[in-house]
Amino acid sequence: MKRKQLIANYRSNKLLYWMILPVILFVILFNYVPMFGLTMAFQDYSLVKGIFGSKWVGFENFADFFSSMYFVRTFRNTIVLSLLDLLFSFPAPIFLALMLNEVKSLRYKKLVQTVSYMPHFISMIVVAGLIIEFTNSSGVIAQLATAMGGTAKSYISLPQYFRPIFITSEVWQHIGFNSIIYLAALSGISEELYEAAKIDGAGRFRQLLNVTLPGIMPTIIIMFILRCGAIMNLNFEKVLLLYSPSTYETADIITTYVYRIGIIKQKIGYSTAVGLFNSVVSFLLVIGANKLSKTYTETSMF
Protein backbone atom coordinates (compact mmCIF):
# COMPACT_ATOMS: atom_id res chain seq x y z
CA MET A 1 0.00 0.00 0.00
CA LYS A 2 2.71 2.44 1.14
CA ARG A 3 4.81 1.37 -1.80
CA LYS A 4 1.99 1.99 -4.26
CA GLN A 5 1.50 5.45 -2.80
CA LEU A 6 5.18 6.17 -3.15
CA ILE A 7 5.18 5.11 -6.79
CA ALA A 8 2.14 7.28 -7.45
CA ASN A 9 3.86 10.16 -5.64
CA TYR A 10 6.96 9.68 -7.77
CA ARG A 11 4.90 9.68 -10.98
CA SER A 12 3.34 13.04 -10.22
CA ASN A 13 6.49 14.68 -8.77
CA LYS A 14 9.30 13.15 -10.83
CA LEU A 15 11.40 16.29 -10.95
CA LEU A 16 11.49 16.62 -7.14
CA TYR A 17 12.88 13.10 -6.84
CA TRP A 18 15.56 13.74 -9.43
CA MET A 19 16.50 17.03 -7.81
CA ILE A 20 17.12 15.49 -4.39
CA LEU A 21 19.02 12.47 -5.74
CA PRO A 22 22.43 14.19 -6.17
CA VAL A 23 22.16 15.66 -2.66
CA ILE A 24 21.48 12.21 -1.19
CA LEU A 25 24.39 10.69 -3.09
CA PHE A 26 26.58 13.54 -1.88
CA VAL A 27 25.59 12.98 1.75
CA ILE A 28 26.17 9.23 1.40
CA LEU A 29 29.64 9.74 -0.07
CA PHE A 30 30.89 12.48 2.24
CA ASN A 31 29.02 11.66 5.46
CA TYR A 32 27.98 8.01 5.54
CA VAL A 33 31.01 6.46 3.84
CA PRO A 34 33.31 7.93 6.53
CA MET A 35 30.94 6.52 9.18
CA PHE A 36 31.37 3.12 7.58
CA GLY A 37 35.10 3.82 7.64
CA LEU A 38 34.92 3.81 11.43
CA THR A 39 35.20 0.01 11.16
CA MET A 40 38.93 0.68 10.78
CA ALA A 41 38.92 1.26 14.54
CA PHE A 42 38.58 -2.52 14.92
CA GLN A 43 41.32 -3.35 12.44
CA ASP A 44 45.05 -3.38 12.15
CA TYR A 45 44.43 -1.15 9.17
CA SER A 46 46.86 -1.11 6.29
CA LEU A 47 46.52 1.46 3.51
CA VAL A 48 47.52 -1.11 0.88
CA LYS A 49 45.06 -3.82 1.97
CA GLY A 50 42.16 -1.44 2.61
CA ILE A 51 39.10 -2.01 4.81
CA PHE A 52 38.19 -5.34 3.20
CA GLY A 53 41.68 -6.83 3.36
CA SER A 54 43.00 -5.57 6.71
CA LYS A 55 43.16 -7.83 9.74
CA TRP A 56 40.39 -7.58 12.37
CA VAL A 57 41.68 -7.05 15.88
CA GLY A 58 38.48 -6.50 17.89
CA PHE A 59 38.89 -3.94 20.64
CA GLU A 60 42.68 -4.10 20.69
CA ASN A 61 43.12 -0.47 19.50
CA PHE A 62 40.79 0.76 22.24
CA ALA A 63 42.58 -1.34 24.84
CA ASP A 64 45.89 0.12 23.69
CA PHE A 65 44.54 3.64 24.06
CA PHE A 66 42.94 3.13 27.46
CA SER A 67 46.09 1.57 28.86
CA SER A 68 48.42 4.24 27.49
CA MET A 69 49.47 7.39 29.33
CA TYR A 70 47.77 9.40 26.57
CA PHE A 71 44.27 8.34 27.59
CA VAL A 72 44.37 9.95 31.03
CA ARG A 73 46.19 13.04 29.78
CA THR A 74 44.06 13.81 26.72
CA PHE A 75 40.75 12.87 28.33
CA ARG A 76 41.49 14.96 31.42
CA ASN A 77 42.65 17.92 29.35
CA THR A 78 39.58 17.75 27.10
CA ILE A 79 37.17 17.72 30.04
CA VAL A 80 39.01 20.32 32.14
CA LEU A 81 39.49 22.76 29.27
CA SER A 82 35.90 22.35 28.15
CA LEU A 83 34.41 22.79 31.61
CA LEU A 84 36.55 25.89 32.24
CA ASP A 85 35.39 27.23 28.91
CA LEU A 86 31.79 26.54 29.90
CA LEU A 87 32.30 28.29 33.23
CA PHE A 88 33.60 31.53 31.67
CA SER A 89 32.51 31.62 28.03
CA PHE A 90 28.92 30.67 28.75
CA PRO A 91 27.83 33.41 31.17
CA ALA A 92 29.91 36.20 29.59
CA PRO A 93 27.60 36.88 26.61
CA ILE A 94 24.55 36.83 28.91
CA PHE A 95 26.07 39.61 31.04
CA LEU A 96 26.99 41.53 27.91
CA ALA A 97 23.44 41.25 26.57
CA LEU A 98 21.97 42.42 29.90
CA MET A 99 24.34 45.38 29.96
CA LEU A 100 23.61 46.31 26.35
CA ASN A 101 19.92 46.09 27.11
CA GLU A 102 20.25 48.91 29.65
CA VAL A 103 21.86 51.31 27.18
CA LYS A 104 19.45 54.09 26.20
CA SER A 105 21.33 55.45 23.20
CA LEU A 106 20.63 53.15 20.26
CA ARG A 107 23.68 54.41 18.39
CA TYR A 108 26.04 53.62 21.25
CA LYS A 109 24.47 50.20 21.66
CA LYS A 110 24.86 49.45 17.95
CA LEU A 111 28.46 50.64 18.01
CA VAL A 112 29.43 48.42 20.95
CA GLN A 113 27.64 45.48 19.32
CA THR A 114 29.37 45.89 15.97
CA VAL A 115 32.78 46.23 17.57
CA SER A 116 32.24 43.26 19.87
CA TYR A 117 31.30 40.97 16.95
CA MET A 118 34.59 41.72 15.23
CA PRO A 119 36.85 39.14 16.92
CA HIS A 120 34.46 36.41 15.78
CA PHE A 121 35.29 37.17 12.15
CA ILE A 122 39.06 37.27 12.48
CA SER A 123 40.71 34.07 11.29
CA MET A 124 42.00 31.54 13.76
CA ILE A 125 45.48 31.87 12.31
CA VAL A 126 45.55 35.63 12.94
CA VAL A 127 44.07 35.22 16.43
CA ALA A 128 46.65 32.54 17.28
CA GLY A 129 49.42 34.66 15.79
CA LEU A 130 48.42 37.62 17.97
CA ILE A 131 48.10 35.45 21.09
CA ILE A 132 51.61 34.15 20.51
CA GLU A 133 52.92 37.68 19.96
CA PHE A 134 51.27 39.02 23.13
CA THR A 135 52.25 36.11 25.37
CA ASN A 136 55.85 35.48 24.35
CA SER A 137 58.75 36.72 26.45
CA SER A 138 58.91 40.13 24.71
CA GLY A 139 55.14 40.54 24.38
CA VAL A 140 52.81 42.97 26.07
CA ILE A 141 51.88 40.59 28.92
CA ALA A 142 55.54 40.05 29.78
CA GLN A 143 56.09 43.84 29.68
CA LEU A 144 53.20 44.38 32.07
CA ALA A 145 54.60 41.72 34.37
CA THR A 146 58.02 43.36 34.36
CA ALA A 147 56.49 46.78 35.02
CA MET A 148 54.79 45.34 38.08
CA GLY A 149 58.02 43.92 39.37
CA GLY A 150 57.75 40.39 38.03
CA THR A 151 59.92 38.58 35.55
CA ALA A 152 59.16 38.27 31.86
CA LYS A 153 58.26 34.74 30.83
CA SER A 154 57.23 33.11 27.63
CA TYR A 155 53.76 32.29 28.88
CA ILE A 156 52.61 30.44 25.79
CA SER A 157 55.29 27.80 26.26
CA LEU A 158 54.58 27.15 29.95
CA PRO A 159 51.96 24.46 30.67
CA GLN A 160 50.44 26.26 33.68
CA TYR A 161 49.40 29.24 31.54
CA PHE A 162 47.87 27.37 28.62
CA ARG A 163 44.36 27.09 30.05
CA PRO A 164 44.02 30.75 31.12
CA ILE A 165 45.32 31.90 27.74
CA PHE A 166 42.96 29.59 25.86
CA ILE A 167 39.87 30.53 27.89
CA THR A 168 40.54 34.28 27.89
CA SER A 169 40.89 34.30 24.14
CA GLU A 170 37.75 32.17 23.71
CA VAL A 171 35.76 34.71 25.72
CA TRP A 172 37.30 37.56 23.71
CA GLN A 173 36.51 35.91 20.39
CA HIS A 174 32.90 34.93 21.05
CA ILE A 175 31.41 37.18 23.75
CA GLY A 176 29.89 39.61 21.25
CA PHE A 177 28.64 37.17 18.69
CA ASN A 178 27.14 34.81 21.25
CA SER A 179 25.26 37.69 22.87
CA ILE A 180 23.11 38.10 19.75
CA ILE A 181 20.69 35.34 20.68
CA TYR A 182 20.20 36.74 24.20
CA LEU A 183 19.63 40.23 22.84
CA ALA A 184 16.96 38.81 20.56
CA ALA A 185 15.34 37.09 23.55
CA LEU A 186 15.52 40.33 25.56
CA SER A 187 13.82 42.32 22.83
CA GLY A 188 11.02 39.76 22.88
CA ILE A 189 10.03 40.57 26.47
CA SER A 190 6.82 42.58 26.46
CA GLU A 191 7.07 46.19 27.63
CA GLU A 192 3.77 45.67 29.49
CA LEU A 193 5.43 43.29 31.94
CA TYR A 194 7.85 46.04 32.96
CA GLU A 195 5.00 48.53 33.28
CA ALA A 196 3.08 46.13 35.50
CA ALA A 197 6.18 45.56 37.66
CA LYS A 198 6.67 49.32 38.02
CA ILE A 199 3.08 49.79 39.14
CA ASP A 200 3.67 47.10 41.75
CA GLY A 201 6.54 49.24 43.00
CA ALA A 202 9.40 47.05 41.73
CA GLY A 203 12.70 48.87 41.44
CA ARG A 204 15.20 48.32 38.63
CA PHE A 205 16.83 45.40 40.37
CA ARG A 206 13.52 43.71 41.14
CA GLN A 207 12.51 44.15 37.52
CA LEU A 208 15.72 42.41 36.47
CA LEU A 209 15.05 39.50 38.82
CA ASN A 210 11.32 39.15 38.22
CA VAL A 211 10.84 40.14 34.58
CA THR A 212 14.08 40.16 32.61
CA LEU A 213 15.70 36.95 33.86
CA PRO A 214 12.55 34.81 33.67
CA GLY A 215 12.04 36.25 30.17
CA ILE A 216 15.36 34.99 28.84
CA MET A 217 15.58 31.87 31.00
CA PRO A 218 14.25 29.49 28.29
CA THR A 219 16.95 30.73 25.91
CA ILE A 220 19.63 30.38 28.59
CA ILE A 221 18.53 26.82 29.36
CA ILE A 222 18.47 25.76 25.72
CA MET A 223 21.87 27.29 25.05
CA PHE A 224 23.26 25.69 28.19
CA ILE A 225 22.02 22.25 27.21
CA LEU A 226 23.35 22.64 23.67
CA ARG A 227 26.68 23.70 25.12
CA CYS A 228 26.78 20.68 27.43
CA GLY A 229 26.23 18.43 24.44
CA ALA A 230 29.29 19.97 22.80
CA ILE A 231 31.73 19.31 25.64
CA MET A 232 33.92 17.03 23.54
CA ASN A 233 34.00 19.47 20.61
CA LEU A 234 36.57 21.95 21.81
CA ASN A 235 38.10 24.44 19.46
CA PHE A 236 40.55 21.90 18.08
CA GLU A 237 42.13 24.20 15.47
CA LYS A 238 43.04 26.75 18.11
CA VAL A 239 44.67 24.19 20.39
CA LEU A 240 46.59 22.86 17.41
CA LEU A 241 47.93 26.33 16.62
CA LEU A 242 48.78 27.28 20.20
CA TYR A 243 50.17 24.15 21.79
CA SER A 244 53.69 22.77 21.57
CA PRO A 245 55.46 19.73 23.06
CA SER A 246 56.33 21.86 26.11
CA THR A 247 52.63 22.44 26.91
CA TYR A 248 51.22 18.99 25.98
CA GLU A 249 50.80 18.25 29.69
CA THR A 250 47.82 20.66 29.88
CA ALA A 251 47.09 21.39 26.23
CA ASP A 252 46.96 18.07 24.42
CA ILE A 253 43.31 17.08 23.94
CA ILE A 254 41.85 13.93 22.35
CA THR A 255 41.30 15.49 18.93
CA THR A 256 44.80 16.96 18.67
CA TYR A 257 46.21 13.57 19.71
CA VAL A 258 44.16 11.91 16.94
CA TYR A 259 45.61 14.39 14.49
CA ARG A 260 49.23 13.73 15.50
CA ILE A 261 48.93 9.98 15.66
CA GLY A 262 46.70 9.58 12.58
CA ILE A 263 47.68 12.23 10.05
CA ILE A 264 51.31 12.76 11.02
CA LYS A 265 52.29 9.25 12.16
CA GLN A 266 49.73 7.46 9.96
CA LYS A 267 48.64 4.94 12.60
CA ILE A 268 45.22 4.75 10.98
CA GLY A 269 43.44 1.96 12.89
CA TYR A 270 44.56 3.17 16.29
CA SER A 271 43.79 6.85 15.65
CA THR A 272 40.35 5.98 14.25
CA ALA A 273 39.64 4.13 17.50
CA VAL A 274 40.67 7.15 19.59
CA GLY A 275 38.55 9.42 17.39
CA LEU A 276 35.59 7.04 17.65
CA PHE A 277 35.86 7.10 21.43
CA ASN A 278 35.58 10.90 21.29
CA SER A 279 32.59 10.76 18.88
CA VAL A 280 30.73 8.21 20.98
CA VAL A 281 31.13 10.20 24.20
CA SER A 282 30.09 13.31 22.28
CA PHE A 283 27.05 11.55 20.80
CA LEU A 284 25.93 10.30 24.22
CA LEU A 285 26.29 13.82 25.63
CA VAL A 286 24.13 15.28 22.85
CA ILE A 287 21.45 12.63 23.36
CA GLY A 288 21.55 13.16 27.13
CA ALA A 289 21.40 16.95 26.75
CA ASN A 290 18.46 16.64 24.40
CA LYS A 291 16.63 14.42 26.84
CA LEU A 292 17.18 16.96 29.62
CA SER A 293 15.95 19.69 27.33
CA LYS A 294 12.80 17.73 26.55
CA THR A 295 12.11 17.12 30.21
CA TYR A 296 12.69 20.63 31.49
CA THR A 297 11.92 23.01 28.66
CA GLU A 298 9.61 21.13 26.31
CA THR A 299 12.06 22.14 23.61
CA SER A 300 14.16 19.56 21.88
CA MET A 301 16.36 19.32 18.85
CA PHE A 302 14.93 16.03 17.63
Binding site: I20, F30, P34, V112, V126, I180, I263, T272, G275
Partner: protein, 293 residues
Protein backbone atom coordinates in the same frame (compact mmCIF):
# COMPACT_ATOMS: atom_id res chain seq x y z
CA UNK B 1 13.79 59.54 47.79
CA UNK B 2 12.84 60.06 44.18
CA UNK B 3 15.96 62.14 43.48
CA UNK B 4 18.21 59.68 45.27
CA UNK B 5 16.99 56.82 43.14
CA UNK B 6 17.47 58.70 39.90
CA UNK B 7 20.98 59.58 41.08
CA UNK B 8 21.72 55.92 41.60
CA UNK B 9 20.19 55.16 38.25
CA UNK B 10 22.32 57.77 36.55
CA UNK B 11 25.47 56.45 38.16
CA UNK B 12 24.52 52.97 37.01
CA UNK B 13 23.97 54.12 33.44
CA UNK B 14 27.32 55.91 33.33
CA UNK B 15 29.23 52.97 34.81
CA UNK B 16 27.43 50.58 32.48
CA UNK B 17 28.24 52.67 29.41
CA UNK B 18 31.83 52.99 30.58
CA UNK B 19 32.26 49.24 31.07
CA UNK B 20 30.78 48.57 27.64
CA UNK B 21 33.15 51.14 26.19
CA UNK B 22 36.09 49.33 27.77
CA UNK B 23 34.85 46.01 26.44
CA UNK B 24 34.45 47.47 22.96
CA UNK B 25 37.96 48.84 23.18
CA UNK B 26 39.35 45.47 24.26
CA UNK B 27 37.66 43.84 21.26
CA UNK B 28 39.07 46.46 18.94
CA UNK B 29 42.53 46.96 20.44
CA UNK B 30 44.41 43.99 18.95
CA UNK B 31 43.37 44.98 15.44
CA UNK B 32 44.24 48.63 16.13
CA UNK B 33 47.66 47.43 17.26
CA UNK B 34 48.12 45.50 14.02
CA UNK B 35 46.98 48.48 11.97
CA UNK B 36 49.28 50.88 13.84
CA UNK B 37 52.27 48.56 13.52
CA UNK B 38 51.67 48.04 9.81
CA UNK B 39 52.47 51.69 9.05
CA UNK B 40 55.16 52.22 11.68
CA UNK B 41 58.82 52.90 11.15
CA UNK B 42 60.28 49.40 10.57
CA UNK B 43 63.59 49.91 12.40
CA UNK B 44 62.00 51.28 15.60
CA UNK B 45 59.19 48.71 15.47
CA UNK B 46 61.62 45.80 15.41
CA UNK B 47 63.43 47.29 18.42
CA UNK B 48 60.52 48.49 20.56
CA UNK B 49 58.25 45.49 21.04
CA UNK B 50 54.96 45.57 22.86
CA UNK B 51 51.61 47.13 22.29
CA UNK B 52 51.15 50.09 19.96
CA UNK B 53 47.84 51.83 19.51
CA UNK B 54 49.40 54.59 17.48
CA UNK B 55 51.93 54.10 14.65
CA UNK B 56 55.56 54.94 15.37
CA UNK B 57 56.76 57.92 13.31
CA UNK B 58 58.06 58.32 10.66
CA UNK B 59 55.07 56.53 9.14
CA UNK B 60 56.01 54.13 6.43
CA UNK B 61 54.05 52.32 3.78
CA UNK B 62 57.06 50.22 2.85
CA UNK B 63 55.41 47.13 4.32
CA UNK B 64 52.40 47.34 2.05
CA UNK B 65 54.62 47.96 -0.97
CA UNK B 66 56.58 44.84 -0.05
CA UNK B 67 53.42 42.77 0.43
CA UNK B 68 52.33 43.65 -3.08
CA UNK B 69 55.57 42.23 -4.45
CA UNK B 70 55.36 38.84 -2.72
CA UNK B 71 54.38 36.16 -5.14
CA UNK B 72 53.09 33.79 -2.42
CA UNK B 73 50.68 36.38 -1.02
CA UNK B 74 49.24 37.01 -4.48
CA UNK B 75 48.92 33.25 -5.05
CA UNK B 76 47.25 32.76 -1.68
CA UNK B 77 44.87 35.63 -2.26
CA UNK B 78 43.75 34.37 -5.66
CA UNK B 79 43.36 30.81 -4.36
CA UNK B 80 41.30 31.96 -1.40
CA UNK B 81 39.04 34.01 -3.66
CA UNK B 82 38.57 30.95 -5.85
CA UNK B 83 37.75 28.69 -2.87
CA UNK B 84 35.29 31.23 -1.46
CA UNK B 85 33.46 31.87 -4.74
CA UNK B 86 33.31 28.23 -5.82
CA UNK B 87 32.49 27.01 -2.31
CA UNK B 88 29.66 29.51 -1.83
CA UNK B 89 28.22 28.63 -5.26
CA UNK B 90 28.31 24.88 -4.55
CA UNK B 91 26.79 25.36 -1.11
CA UNK B 92 23.99 27.58 -2.37
CA UNK B 93 23.09 25.23 -5.22
CA UNK B 94 22.98 22.07 -3.10
CA UNK B 95 21.32 23.74 -0.13
CA UNK B 96 18.56 25.54 -2.07
CA UNK B 97 17.71 22.43 -4.07
CA UNK B 98 17.59 20.20 -1.00
CA UNK B 99 15.67 22.79 1.03
CA UNK B 100 13.16 23.28 -1.77
CA UNK B 101 12.42 19.59 -2.23
CA UNK B 102 12.33 18.85 1.50
CA UNK B 103 9.96 21.73 2.23
CA UNK B 104 7.32 20.56 -0.34
CA UNK B 105 4.42 18.86 1.42
CA UNK B 106 3.60 16.97 -1.78
CA UNK B 107 7.02 15.24 -1.64
CA UNK B 108 6.17 12.10 0.30
CA UNK B 109 9.55 10.85 1.62
CA UNK B 110 10.56 14.33 2.88
CA UNK B 111 10.71 13.40 6.57
CA UNK B 112 12.68 10.21 6.06
CA UNK B 113 15.25 12.00 3.91
CA UNK B 114 15.43 14.95 6.31
CA UNK B 115 16.16 12.53 9.15
CA UNK B 116 18.80 10.81 7.03
CA UNK B 117 20.55 14.14 6.44
CA UNK B 118 20.02 15.60 9.92
CA UNK B 119 21.64 12.54 11.51
CA UNK B 120 24.97 13.76 10.12
CA UNK B 121 24.75 16.70 12.55
CA UNK B 122 24.79 14.28 15.49
CA UNK B 123 27.35 11.79 14.37
CA UNK B 124 30.15 11.78 11.86
CA UNK B 125 33.11 9.67 10.94
CA UNK B 126 35.59 12.13 12.37
CA UNK B 127 38.96 13.26 11.18
CA UNK B 128 40.70 10.04 10.15
CA UNK B 129 37.92 8.33 8.13
CA UNK B 130 37.26 11.63 6.33
CA UNK B 131 40.94 11.96 5.60
CA UNK B 132 41.12 8.42 4.23
CA UNK B 133 38.09 9.04 2.01
CA UNK B 134 39.94 11.92 0.36
CA UNK B 135 43.04 9.71 0.01
CA UNK B 136 41.04 6.87 -1.56
CA UNK B 137 39.21 9.23 -3.91
CA UNK B 138 42.60 10.37 -5.15
CA UNK B 139 41.87 13.98 -4.16
CA UNK B 140 45.07 14.58 -2.19
CA UNK B 141 46.67 17.73 -3.50
CA UNK B 142 43.55 18.58 -5.50
CA UNK B 143 41.50 21.76 -5.10
CA UNK B 144 38.42 19.54 -4.95
CA UNK B 145 39.59 18.25 -1.56
CA UNK B 146 38.96 21.74 -0.20
CA UNK B 147 35.65 22.29 -1.97
CA UNK B 148 33.77 18.99 -1.92
CA UNK B 149 33.71 17.82 1.72
CA UNK B 150 32.28 21.16 2.86
CA UNK B 151 29.97 21.75 -0.08
CA UNK B 152 26.83 20.81 1.81
CA UNK B 153 25.93 21.19 5.46
CA UNK B 154 22.85 19.89 7.22
CA UNK B 155 22.96 22.94 9.46
CA UNK B 156 22.49 25.34 6.55
CA UNK B 157 19.79 23.07 5.14
CA UNK B 158 17.81 23.42 8.37
CA UNK B 159 18.01 27.22 8.20
CA UNK B 160 17.02 27.35 4.52
CA UNK B 161 14.25 24.77 4.80
CA UNK B 162 12.68 26.61 7.72
CA UNK B 163 12.65 29.82 5.71
CA UNK B 164 11.21 28.10 2.59
CA UNK B 165 8.43 26.55 4.68
CA UNK B 166 7.23 30.02 5.67
CA UNK B 167 6.51 30.97 2.07
CA UNK B 168 2.75 30.63 1.40
CA UNK B 169 1.93 27.67 -0.82
CA UNK B 170 -0.57 29.77 -2.78
CA UNK B 171 2.36 31.48 -4.52
CA UNK B 172 3.60 28.14 -5.78
CA UNK B 173 0.13 26.87 -6.72
CA UNK B 174 -0.61 29.69 -9.11
CA UNK B 175 2.75 29.23 -10.83
CA UNK B 176 2.09 25.51 -11.17
CA UNK B 177 -1.27 26.19 -12.76
CA UNK B 178 0.58 28.34 -15.30
CA UNK B 179 2.67 25.27 -16.12
CA UNK B 180 5.89 26.12 -14.28
CA UNK B 181 8.04 23.16 -13.25
CA UNK B 182 9.86 22.82 -9.92
CA UNK B 183 13.13 24.31 -11.08
CA UNK B 184 11.28 27.32 -12.45
CA UNK B 185 9.28 27.73 -9.26
CA UNK B 186 12.46 27.56 -7.18
CA UNK B 187 14.21 30.11 -9.38
CA UNK B 188 11.38 32.56 -10.06
CA UNK B 189 9.18 32.29 -6.97
CA UNK B 190 11.10 30.94 -3.99
CA UNK B 191 14.58 32.42 -4.35
CA UNK B 192 13.50 36.05 -4.94
CA UNK B 193 11.60 36.13 -1.64
CA UNK B 194 14.40 34.38 0.31
CA UNK B 195 17.17 36.90 -0.20
CA UNK B 196 17.78 37.42 3.52
CA UNK B 197 18.31 33.71 4.13
CA UNK B 198 20.56 33.44 1.07
CA UNK B 199 22.59 36.35 2.44
CA UNK B 200 23.00 34.68 5.85
CA UNK B 201 24.16 31.40 4.34
CA UNK B 202 26.47 33.15 1.91
CA UNK B 203 28.03 35.10 4.77
CA UNK B 204 28.49 32.05 7.02
CA UNK B 205 29.98 29.92 4.23
CA UNK B 206 32.15 32.72 2.84
CA UNK B 207 33.61 33.66 6.24
CA UNK B 208 34.28 30.01 7.08
CA UNK B 209 36.03 29.43 3.76
CA UNK B 210 37.99 32.67 3.87
CA UNK B 211 39.37 31.74 7.29
CA UNK B 212 39.74 28.01 6.66
CA UNK B 213 43.21 26.50 6.82
CA UNK B 214 43.08 23.07 8.45
CA UNK B 215 41.73 21.00 5.55
CA UNK B 216 44.15 22.74 3.21
CA UNK B 217 47.01 21.95 5.60
CA UNK B 218 46.34 18.22 5.53
CA UNK B 219 45.30 17.85 1.87
CA UNK B 220 47.45 20.28 -0.10
CA UNK B 221 51.20 19.95 -0.34
CA UNK B 222 51.45 21.96 -3.54
CA UNK B 223 52.09 25.60 -2.56
CA UNK B 224 50.48 26.85 -5.76
CA UNK B 225 47.11 25.70 -4.44
CA UNK B 226 47.46 27.02 -0.89
CA UNK B 227 44.86 29.46 0.43
CA UNK B 228 46.08 32.71 1.97
CA UNK B 229 45.63 31.41 5.53
CA UNK B 230 48.25 28.70 5.03
CA UNK B 231 50.85 31.25 4.00
CA UNK B 232 49.77 33.31 7.01
CA UNK B 233 50.30 30.31 9.26
CA UNK B 234 53.79 29.84 7.89
CA UNK B 235 54.63 33.47 8.63
CA UNK B 236 52.81 34.00 11.94
CA UNK B 237 52.82 30.62 13.67
CA UNK B 238 55.75 28.69 12.26
CA UNK B 239 57.81 31.87 12.09
CA UNK B 240 59.20 30.83 8.75
CA UNK B 241 60.34 33.50 6.33
CA UNK B 242 60.07 31.19 3.36
CA UNK B 243 57.15 32.90 1.68
CA UNK B 244 58.64 36.31 2.38
CA UNK B 245 61.92 35.58 0.66
CA UNK B 246 60.56 34.52 -2.67
CA UNK B 247 59.44 37.98 -3.79
CA UNK B 248 62.34 40.26 -3.01
CA UNK B 249 66.03 39.82 -2.35
CA UNK B 250 66.82 38.97 1.27
CA UNK B 251 64.72 41.53 3.10
CA UNK B 252 66.02 42.85 6.37
CA UNK B 253 64.76 41.55 9.69
CA UNK B 254 63.12 44.89 10.45
CA UNK B 255 61.25 44.84 7.18
CA UNK B 256 59.92 41.36 7.94
CA UNK B 257 58.43 42.39 11.28
CA UNK B 258 56.62 45.20 9.53
CA UNK B 259 55.45 42.99 6.70
CA UNK B 260 53.85 40.52 9.11
CA UNK B 261 51.41 43.18 10.25
CA UNK B 262 50.68 44.35 6.73
CA UNK B 263 49.82 40.80 5.70
CA UNK B 264 47.43 40.41 8.62
CA UNK B 265 45.68 43.62 7.56
CA UNK B 266 45.51 42.60 3.93
CA UNK B 267 44.13 39.16 4.83
CA UNK B 268 41.58 40.37 7.37
CA UNK B 269 40.23 43.64 6.00
CA UNK B 270 37.89 42.15 3.36
CA UNK B 271 35.90 40.24 6.00
CA UNK B 272 35.87 43.13 8.45
CA UNK B 273 34.44 45.37 5.78
CA UNK B 274 31.62 43.02 4.84
CA UNK B 275 30.18 41.86 8.14
CA UNK B 276 28.83 45.14 9.53
CA UNK B 277 26.61 45.46 6.48
CA UNK B 278 25.17 41.98 6.88
CA UNK B 279 24.75 42.29 10.65
CA UNK B 280 20.99 42.68 10.52
CA UNK B 281 20.69 39.24 8.92
CA UNK B 282 22.68 37.43 11.63
CA UNK B 283 19.90 37.47 14.18
CA UNK B 284 17.53 35.66 11.87
CA UNK B 285 20.07 33.01 10.89
CA UNK B 286 21.31 32.45 14.41
CA UNK B 287 17.82 32.21 15.87
CA UNK B 288 16.71 29.54 13.41
CA UNK B 289 20.06 27.80 13.53
CA UNK B 290 20.41 27.42 17.26
CA UNK B 291 16.82 26.68 18.18
CA UNK B 292 16.01 24.27 15.39
CA UNK B 293 19.56 23.06 14.92
Amino acid sequence: MKIKESMGRRTFLVVNALLLGILGFVCLAPMLHVLACSISDPATLARVRGFHLWPIAPYSFEGYKAVLSYQSIATGYLNTIFYVVAGVALNLILTTIAAYVLSRTRFMPRNVIMLFIAFTMLFNGGLIPNYLLIVKLGLINSRLAILLPGAFSAFNLVIMRTSFKEIPEALEESARLDGANDLQILWHIILPVSKATLAVITLFVAVALWNSWFTASIYLSDRDKWPLQLFLREILINNSQRSLNTGVKASAMAQQTLVKYCIIVVATVPILFIYPFLQKYFVKGIMIGSIKG
